[in-house]
């Protein structure tokens, strides 16, 4: 059975086993994605609840350290994430000849 998957607008999170932390570096913030046009963001509500890491690829990794953390956005209902590690990535769309990431 696959790991729990969450969709928050154009951002996906999937629970993962402990990733290889040697290739990760803390971002120093908890904003998973920032809308270029609106300035709205997918972020965690409590600053001490988690650590967000950048990886060598396009994915980010989120480590929820408290029992639960809440993912919020100006336009989307909140989602509660249980303690653990999550892979975080953006929705994509197709354009002939390439693929681009969606930023709402």
């Amino acid at each position: 059975m696959s790991q729990p998957l969450y969709r928050h607008g154009d951002v996906f999170l999937q629970a993962v086993q402990l990733p290889n932390t040697r290739s990760l570096r803390p971002t120093g913030h908890l904003t998973l994605a920032l809308g270029e046009v609106t300035g709205h963001s997918h972020r965690l509500s409590a600053p001490d609840s988690a650590v967000l890491y950048a990886s060598s690829g396009p994915d980010q990794y989120l480590h929820v350290q408290s029992a639960q953390a809440t993912l919020i956005h100006e336009e989307h209902a909140p989602i509660d994430l249980p303690q653990g590690w999550y892979r975080v990535w953006q929705q994509r769309e197709y354009i002939p000849g390439s693929v681009r990431t969606v930023l709402d």
């Binding site: 729990p4 969709r7 607008g9 270029e36 336009e75 994509r92």
Partner: protein, 288 residues
């Protein structure tokens, strides 16, 4: 003072470079984390300043054959007099304001998303402003002889005297395409025979408005947490068809449209593709 490129790097690193430095070859300072500024009246053949994180200013008077200052986040302003015989490339820099006397054969500010002011006596053969999304107006003294690339810009006006050929991702376009994308129609897209031109028209118009204008063949429909989803297709002559999934956001109720590859045949497959997952793996526990 005339010096070799290696000697010039040593002087610059020790901050002992005098003004009017004449370098007898290409000066490659790419990736120099220590570099903040350069001496006045610098002369060299090529000046490479890519990826210098702290570089915040160019000399007030600079002459060279080639200039490359790509990905220089601290370089926010350009002024003074810059003369480049061939290509001057500032793509991906942190430039916000350009108020310079700038001459070059080819000039690029591609991807300078913070650029809001482009003024001064700028005279070039070709100018690339693609991705300069904050730039609304161009200076009246801008002189572009051949082509002006504008993909990804949101310009509100063009200088009245501008005679350059306008390009969008390399495709010739007119001023209406650049300034009034809201006036474009789905019918225009369908009636455009040239494939490249049709693609950029569609990109400029947006898949959502295109489908609202012309409709489409419904390939599949089902329901998810947001309500009904539809997968629609519009065939094009001499090109792959447009296939897009229309979904509703479970939080806002707003509709949105995402283009997916032409081989996709069901809504579930389409939405899984947008998440870069197989349809069997796309089982969200929670969507909002």
């Amino acid at each position: 003072m005339q010096v070799t490129p290696a000697e010039a790097v040593r002087l610059l690193k020790h901050r002992t470079a005098p003004d009017a430095l004449h370098v007898t070859g290409p000066l490659d300072l790419s990736g120099a984390a220590w570099l903040r500024e350069l001496p006045l009246w610098l002369r060299c053949s090529a000046l490479i300043l890519d990826d210098c994180p702290q570089l915040s200013a160019l000399p007030q008077d600079l002459q060279c054959d080639r200039l490359s200052a790509r990905r220089t986040p601290a370089l926010t302003e350009l002024d003074g007099r810059i003369s480049v015989r061939e290509r001057a490339d500032f793509s991906g820099s942190g430039l916000k304001r350009v108020q310079a006397e700038l001459r070059a054969s080819r000039l690029s500010f591609a991807g300078c998303r913070a650029l809001t002011q482009l003024e001064g006596q700028i005279s070039v053969n070709t100018l690339d402003l693609s991705g300069c999304s904050s730039l609304l107006h161009l200076g009246a003294a801008l002189h572009v002889i051949q082509t002006l690339e504008l993909a990804g810009t949101s310009l509100a006006s063009l200088p009245p005297g501008l005679r350059a050929g306008l390009r969008w991702s390399g495709v010739p376009v007119d001023a209406r395409f650049v300034l009034q994308p809201e006036a474009l129609t789905g019918r225009e897209v369908l009636l455009t025979r040239n494939v490249q031109r049709r693609r950029i028209l569609l990109d400029r118009l947006g898949v959502e408005k295109f489908l609202a204008d012309v409709g489409g063949l419904v390939l599949d429909r089902d329901r998810d947490a947001g309500g009904e989803r539809q997968l629609v297709q519009v065939p094009f002559e001499d090109d792959e068809p447009l296939v897009a999934v229309l979904v509703r956001c479970p939080s806002t109720g707003g509709r949105y449209t995402l283009r997916v590859p032409p081989f996709v045949r069901t809504c579930a497959e389409a939405v899984a593709w947008t998440a870069n997952l197989n349809v069997t793996d796309y089982r969200p526990l929670r969507e909002a």
